[in-house]
Amino acid sequence: MDVVVIGGGPAGLSAAIRAQELGLKVVVVEEGRLGGILPQCIHTGFGLLTYGEDLTGPELAHRLINSYQGEVLRGHAAGLEYSYHRKRVRVITEGGTVTLEAPTVIYAAGARERHAHEIGIVGDRVAGIYTAGEAQALMDLYGVLPGREVVIVGSGDVGLIMARRLSLEGAKVKAVVEMLPYPGGLARNLMILRDFNIPLLLNHRVVEVRGRGRVERVKVVSGSKEEWIKCDTLLVSAGLVPRVKLLRRAGAIIDERTSGPLVNDRLETSLPGIFAAGNSLVINDLVDYAMEQGRIAAEGAEEFIREGGIPSQDWVKVIPGDNVRSVVPQLISPGREVIAYVRPSKPLNDATLTLPNGRVRLGVIKPSEMLRVRVKAEEGGVAHVEIQG
């Protein structure tokens, strides 16, 4: 075995497909469904950059699953042990524990959703509180409507997409509540509020849930104003957090800005030979970028095996400057043009991005739309990435 891929979502499958193309022997470890989050994302908007076609999530999953002919091990990767030439992945399968050994690992375990208690919502512990992803799985995999009168917390893409699904299937979305002064989702998803006349409450927070057995009302506050909204369901769409437990336990350095591992331009973590891709590296709003990261990681794994390691060098450290929340990779090779993903920290109307290799006019930017750029830095020192408004 040359490479163990942990996670069979779009990032992991893309990594596995690319690794096979490069002649590596691959196994994908998947605890749930191949395709990751895709089978439950039944809306269109997937793969436009990769295929020039607007696919639904299940269609993209189908494509990826069909292009990967290699081995899949069904089970939960529960342990990751590091040594320079040998990594060991402990997998709990139906038939017992299996230990896989390989010189490289690509970690593509996706992200988890933030829950109500993580965003300071207190009150009764009742039925009817879901994360947006849980509600999505209920509706679009199992055909169950999670509720009739719904308040959604968070105006990110997941929340907006669920607002549309619920409205179309006969539920009433009473409000989308957003803490920030601007909406979180992609422009195409903000159209949903207009299509269905759903009120968007900016600068508002849901702070309390009341009910007996089931949600009955939620308290919404803005400054010193507060009101109760009657509803039977609260959907929390408060963002995703990279799933990095195994990486952290194995000793990888985690970047505070992305909550994912610190990586070099091969997407290799601080543990040589362990690479990361997709939502466990950085939260991707576009699946195309998650898939691209999978391919870059696979190329890194191939190089690691061929060269006996990624050549060590005088890495240039990338420093996020004004209006930049995060940049991946955090370390880049001097003199090599590499792909970087830049997350702006606030919306700007006429933005310009400054990189070590020049300036890019961006136009309108938002934190919800990660930027993909080519960066090249010269030897010595650091690379500043900043955005002027």
Partner: protein, 122 residues
């Protein structure tokens, strides 16, 4: 939409997100766009917006109780009707991605997830 109204929209065709205004006073006047694709999209959006509808249909004897489907673009004000019609449909496996499984007012409905007879497909 009344004939004298002004329609304002952020173009979603590309990430520039131009703020486009479409005036519909007799002749159509469009401002704010930066390219012809955006102009065309905004006019379409102002006059007769269309949407691809996605939903799930019941499946008897599949791996899961429902299967995801999508339609050809439908005029926006027909979306609810299409959903209502589709809620009556029940399918049986096998179902293939791209297979047409229903037609509502000439609008085709395609399966987007593979369902083999009685087996787990993923």
């Amino acid at each position: 939409m009344s004939p004298t109204s002004k329609f304002r929209v952020n173009c979603i065709v590309c990430p520039m997100s131009c703020y486009v205004e479409v005036e519909l006073d007799g002749e159509i006047r469009v401002t704010g766009y930066r390219c012809p694709r955006g102009k065309e999209w905004a006019v379409q959006e102002a006059l007769s917006p269309k949407r691809v509808v996605v939903t799930v249909l019941k499946v008897k004897g599949g791996d899961l109780p429902v299967v995801s489907v999508k339609t050809d673009p439908v005029p926006r004000d027909k979306v609810r009707e299409v959903i209502r019609e589709l809620s009556k449909v029940e399918l049986v496996p096998p179902l293939r991605v791209g297979q047409v499984v229903a037609e509502v007012d000439g609008v085709k409905v395609y399966v987007t997830r593979e369902v083999r007879g009685g087996q787990q497909t993923f």
